[in-house]
């Protein structure tokens, strides 16, 4: 009797607008606390919220890009709860009339396509930041420090339906969503900066059960690695409990990065009563058809569309997906190079393997302006045609990163052009054999390993220019005769 896990993801996307959601304070990335504030985002008496038009455009863009239905006559609601980092002790959010509903997102899991169903996309405001001071453990803090710079920044909350089936799918979903918000230009999408934050709701049930199990919310996963590990841990924890017929409590648990376990957060029994009611400071938000159509017409090329183009060019789903998730210049370079070389896989390997590898070693984030599709293609073609060895190709690439050059010219000048002429190589084979009669004897006694030694001698004799595989082939022919 197998146990089936069910996962739902709640993701908050920080929008990169100039000003906050309900006031015109700068959205600042600064170390100075409490630097970008006004009566509204600080929750001073008498202040009022006025929604940010750009934020609404951004969320509509996201909703449309995930095939959501748009709520034309929506509203903002107050979500009431007390917490020091919430200036008004209510968050302006959306309850039953969110901007987008019933959408979906194409994802790639383990090289295959999948679809994650989205329940809703809604607009809300961020809270301030709390720093607990004291010995460092969360339950022995002596005080809490508050910085409200972040309070009021526009957040889009995306909630999936509880239909995700594995940790890999959840990770693939977050990766896709992240790429989408980056490509739409609505968010920086940097996990380490908190531009994208996610919680997972996890439950388990026996295969065939009509109802889902008790759901547990997991918070505090700060990277895709911890997301995957946390989900795995929680599924395993719940599965054990289910098999032991233990009662799983509906609660919020905290992922402990160090111990790699989820732990119960104190208090919070049952679900909170947020007393949602429509915000009387903000009239109904009517999104006209004109508005929606204008946003629709501004949708750029989506990750899924880019992926299709890459797949159509001859790449596997997995490879196409990795290009989509890379910075734009890589995909663009691939497109140009593969159309020149006419070899999608080789172009892909060179760009994502060799080129990115070398850049990483040099701690570079992009290529210099003289490293064009044209000259990269030239290197690739030289190697493909066996004019230079793969190693030489790598060498030329490395040089090209440093300085402008013409690959073929460089190869010639540096005597990298391989000797492919059969007669020339045969001569060298004969020469080497003549000089190594003792080795030849040992090979004929069965020491096949020494064939490599002879190939090495041939390469040495040619000063590295011989094509090793051709040399070996001719050597073997000679040995067998």
């Amino acid at each position: 009797m197998s146990i089936i896990p069910t996962i739902g993801m709640e993701t908050h996307v920080e929008l990169k607008t100039n000003s906050k959601m309900f006031c015109r304070c700068h959205v600042l990335d600064t170390d100075i606390p409490n630097e970008s504030l006004c009566p509204t985002c600080l929750g001073l008496p008498g202040s009022l919220p006025v929604p940010n038009k750009k934020a609404i455009e951004f969320i509509t863009l996201l909703a449309l890009s995930t095939n959501c239905s748009i709520t034309n006559d929506g509203m903002f609601h107050r979500k009431n709860y007390f917490y020091p980092d919430l200036p008004k002790n209510y968050q302006i959010s959306q309850f039953d009339l969110p901007v987008g509903t019933e959408g979906s997102l194409e994802v790639v899991v383990d090289g295959e396509f999948g679809t994650v169903e989205i329940e809703r996309v809604h607009m809300e405001e961020d809270t301030g930041k709390s720093t607990h001071m004291g010995s460092g453990r969360i339950d022995s803090a002596t005080s809490t420090h508050l910085d409200f710079n972040r309070a009021g920044i526009p957040l889009v909350e995306v909630v999936t339906k509880p239909l995700i089936k594995s940790s890999r799918e959840a990770v693939a979903y977050i990766e896709e969503l992240r790429q989408l918000v980056i490509d739409l230009g609505i968010s920086e999408g940097k996990l380490e900066k908190g531009n994208l934050r996610f919680d997972a709701n996890i439950s388990v049930a026996h295969d065939g059960d009509k109802e889902l199990g008790t759901k547990v919310e997991i918070k505090n996963m700060n990277s895709l690695r911890s997301l995957e590990k946390a989900i795995e841990y929680e599924i395993s924890r719940q599965t054990k409990m289910l098999l032991n017929e233990e009662n799983i409590i509906q609660e919020t648990r905290h992922w402990d990065e160090k111990k790699e376990v989820t732990t119960s957060m104190r208090s919070k029994e049952g679900s909170a009563d947020y007393r949602y009611f429509s915000d009387p400071d903000i009239p109904n938000m009517i999104l006209s058809d004109d508005f929606v159509n204008e946003v629709k017409s501004s949708i750029p090329v989506l990750p899924s569309q880019k992926r299709t183009v890459f797949i159509d060019s001859g790449l596997s789903i997995e490879d196409a997906n990795s290009l989509v998730k890379s910075p734009n210049w890589i995909g663009d370079l691939y497109k140009s190079v593969s159309s020149i070389t006419n070899d999608s896989k080789t172009s892909f390997n060179w760009i994502t393997g060799e080129l990115q590898g070398q850049l990483r070693k040099l701690e570079l984030k992009s290529i210099p302006s003289w490293l064009t599709a044209k000259n990269l293609s030239e290197i690739i073609t030289l190697v493909k045609e066996n004019k230079i060895s793969f190693t030489s190709g790598k060498e030329i690439l490395g040089k090209l990163i440093e300085e402008e050059l013409v690959p073929e010219e460089y190869a010639v000048n540096n005597k990298l052009i391989q000797e492919n002429d059969i007669d020339e190589i045969s001569k060298m084979v004969k020469d080497v054999l003549d000089d190594n009669k003792d080795v030849l004897e040992r090979i004929s006694n069965g020491e096949d390993k020494l064939i490599g030694f002879l190939v090495g001698q041939i390469i040495k004799l040619s000063k590295g220019k011989v094509n090793p595989s051709v040399a070996k082939e001719l050597l073997l022919k000679e040995l067998n005769s």
Binding site: P39, P45, G46, P51, R78, K88
Partner: protein
């Protein structure tokens, strides 16, 4: 000196004709304050020092003949739930006794730009919740007509200082009658504009969908002047109207409806008499007066006491001692918030917060708050329909003349009933004005209330002005034996 009782336009003439200087008027008004405040306690703070210089600056402007406008140099008192930068905004609460505002409300900015002198901040029922100013944490304001009686509320201080002459006019806020009822009790004019015509930015919110700032004045012309210098779209207030087109009611041969439901049980004979008196005067002017029925007005109190507390329960959540306010510390931040709020809020405020929290809580929303919203929408329709038949509506402003201190504090429902006549205008968002028309059998002021459709504010004011001259009520109270 009686210059402070003159219509503002007349004062402005005197200034322009150099028969009076703004600094002289200010001294007059400040002297009145010195003579009356110990009795009535209308102002919580007086801005004496800064006004001396500001008045002198106004003097110079008039001397050179380039005064800003009609309001330049006029001393106006401000209810202490409206923010003025650099000054305390206490909302008459212990919670904010040490709070200094870092910004101006939009109405303040607009009046500042007109050269208005703010006399100081006036007393109110704590956080604008009340009908008598007995709920102030800093002691009540006394009615200038009889210091054993309440001035009304929640803008009791604002109404009292105009009545006593320690300001030429004042600003109040009106959520369920908080401008009109105290104006009536103090024998002065109080005007609540159409919802959305005057910016709420900088007004400490009580009930967001009901609150409006409005003027309390000696006469209707002053109210019109002040209203038009503050009104207009404010991009900082999302509920601020951008357009205000509406069919305007008639000024001549108008039809006025007496609201039947506000002329029977619970309304004193004296108050009803005023309405009949005024009706006769209007008929003599060629207007037609009829009786109309607005059945849902009977539900006003219930609807109001669900919507207002619900909204205020959330509006007052921000008072937690974290970023400002009188903090009472605790072992944890949630304990600190609970203790701060327990200590900072008075009993009426606590009651309304709890009532509102209850009405919104899980399981009760539909039966209470949800119902109230529906009933409110229906009431709005009732009013809109009736305005197809009549141009204006008339009723008493308050069920009775001013009551004595302590008279209603033990009976909350009776206290809430003081707002019976005024609440409907807030619920439907339409303008309403209270005009003093006579004295009760106890020699205390009585008023009538006129209402009109949304966005007909200036027409209502014009119509009221003509009514005012017909009524010709000019009595003023005497304090310390000195008549204002």
């Amino acid at each position: 000196m009686d210059n402070h009782k003159l219509p503002i336009s007349k004062i402005n003439q005197l200034f322009k004709n150099k028969e009076l200087k703004p600094s002289e008027l200010y001294s007059e008004v400040f002297e009145r304050a010195a003579n009356t405040e110990s009795v009535i306690h209308g102002h919580l703070t007086l801005f004496q020092e800064e006004n001396i210089q500001k008045a002198l600056d106004a003097d110079k402007r008039y001397e050179k003949g380039n005064n800003i406008g009609t309001l330049d140099g006029i001393p106006i008192a401000i209810k202490d739930n409206i923010n003025i930068s650099g000054h305390a905004t206490t909302c008459s609460s212990k919670m904010l006794s040490n709070y200094i505002s870092p910004y101006d409300a939009t109405v303040i900015t607009r009046l500042k730009n007109e050269g208005v002198l703010f006399t100081g901040k006036t007393n109110l029922d704590e956080f604008a919740m009340g009908s008598s100013t007995e709920n102030s944490a800093y002691g009540p304001t006394k009615n200038p007509w009889d210091s054993s009686r309440v001035p009304g509320g929640s803008s009791g201080g604002s109404a009292a200082v105009v009545s006593a002459g320690s300001a030429v006019a004042s600003l109040g806020s009106d959520t369920g009658g908080s401008i009109r009822q105290p104006a009536s009790f103090c024998g002065v004019v109080g005007f609540k504009p159409t919802y959305g015509t005057v910016s709420r930015y900088g007004l400490v919110a009580f009930a967001s969908s009901l609150d409006q700032i409005g003027p309390i004045t000696n006469n209707v012309a002053d109210a019109k002047l002040i209203f038009n210098s503050m009104n207009g779209h404010d991009p900082l207030d999302a509920t601020s109207l951008t357009e205000s087109k509406a069919q305007q009611p008639k000024l001549k041969n108008a039809k006025i409806g007496i609201i039947k439901e506000l002329m029977g049980d619970g309304i004193s004979e004296d108050a009803q008499q005023e309405v009949h008196k005024v009706a006769k005067l209007m008929e003599s002017e060629g207007h037609e007066v009829v009786e109309v029925s607005l059945p849902l007005t009977k539900m006003s109190i219930s609807i109001y006491y669900l919507i207002a507390p619900a909204e205020c329960s959330a509006n007052l959540s921000r008072f937690d001692g974290v970023r400002y306010g009188n903090r009472v510390t605790g072992n944890t931040s949630s304990e600190m918030m609970e203790l701060t709020r327990a200590n900072g809020f008075g009993p009426e405020v606590k009651k309304r917060i709890l009532l509102g929290t209850y009405a919104l809580s899980a399981g009760y929303y539909d039966a209470y708050y949800g119902q109230a919203l529906k009933a409110r929408a229906m009431m709005k329709k009732e009013f809109t329909d009736i305005y197809n038949d009549v141009d204006y509506l008339i009723s008493p402003t308050t069920p009775s003349d001013p009551f004595k201190f302590g008279e209603k504090t033990d009976n909350q429902l009776e206290m809430y009933m003081s707002d019976l006549c005024t609440i409907p205008a807030n619920l439907v968002g339409m303008p309403a004005i209270s005009i003093p028309t006579g004295l009760s059998s106890q020699g205390l002021p009585l008023s009538v209330q006129l209402m009109s459709p949304a966005n007909t504010d200036n027409t209502l004011l014009d119509f009221s002005q003509s009514l005012e001259s017909l009524v010709a009520f000019s009595d003023k109270p005497s304090i310390n034996g000195v008549t204002n």
